[in-house]
Amino acid sequence: MLDAIFIPEEGYKPEFWGILSTLSTPNPHRLPSSIAREDEHLLVAAAKKGDATAFEELVNRYEDKIFRLTKNITGNHEDAEDAMQDAFLKAYSHLQDFHGDSRFYTWLVRIAANESLMRLRRRRPNQFSLDEPVEGDTDLMPRELEEWGPSPEQGCAQAELQAILADFIEKLDPEFRIVLILRDLEELSTQETAEALGISVPAVKSRLLRARLKLREKLNRHFRRGTLN
């Protein structure tokens, strides 16, 4: 399913849509996203009418984030560039299929994620599956427990923290990495993530929980003594 070239249309609803639609709730721990600026829909409308400058503005606005997304999913510079380029080209080609029922950025992320997944699967066939059943929860209890202090991230430079996060994402198994990226970096909802990946909401939640626990464990090793290792 994920290997097929897939341009999500606004009207696209997977078989489990009825269940998904009842589970969509906001994430109150997050600040309002700065991604969707107020003029985004105006730019999209202009681009759909053939205004190339408007589409260029959308590209300029999101190219850094889309490249981070494709790089994080593929883990490969060349694939990341190709996936990003094809995502923007396909977005332009299929702009008429976007009807504005969701954020343009969310639609773009779904295209870019799919382009990235195709390349990851091509490079690493049979190494991971997003379609596998949700795993059991028998071994989730964290074992490393140490105090961090009130603002542990202030104890290290921004560049060092970025390097720690990049290393963590790179080494995380793809099935966890992709869900974590879409949910916590790209701020897609659980429902949107499930749709984008063609997996169930419980599968998204299970992988997200594990990924977040692994992230806490990784940061714990750096924060527990109040200094970077």
């Binding site: 709730t25 994430n27 964290p142 996060l165 806490r216």
Partner: protein, 79 residues
């Protein structure tokens, strides 16, 4: 709710997606369990740190190739 239950519902809790009854049970457990409180707080903090991370700037050569490809698609001189 026991410690395993807290960990199982941890993501839903920090996302505010927990059923009100379960939320009450979980918070009642946190009142007397320091370990779970620490795990919840640190996991929430970890997610916040990840959310706050900023993408690095697109390398200039990658950006040039992207815009060249778009120009070819949309039309010369358009991007």
């Amino acid at each position: 709710m026991n410690c395993k239950g807290v960990i199982r519902e941890l993501s839903n809790y920090i996302d505010g997606e927990l059923d009100p009854g379960l939320k009450t049970e979980l918070e009642r457990h946190l009142e007397h369990c320091e370990d779970c409180t620490m795990i919840v707080d640190q996991t929430r903090k970890s997610v916040e740190i990840l959310c706050d991370s900023r993408p690095v700037e697109l390398p200039s050569d990658v950006r040039s190739r992207l815009h060249a490809a778009l120009s070819k698609k949309i039309g010369p001189g358009q991007t």
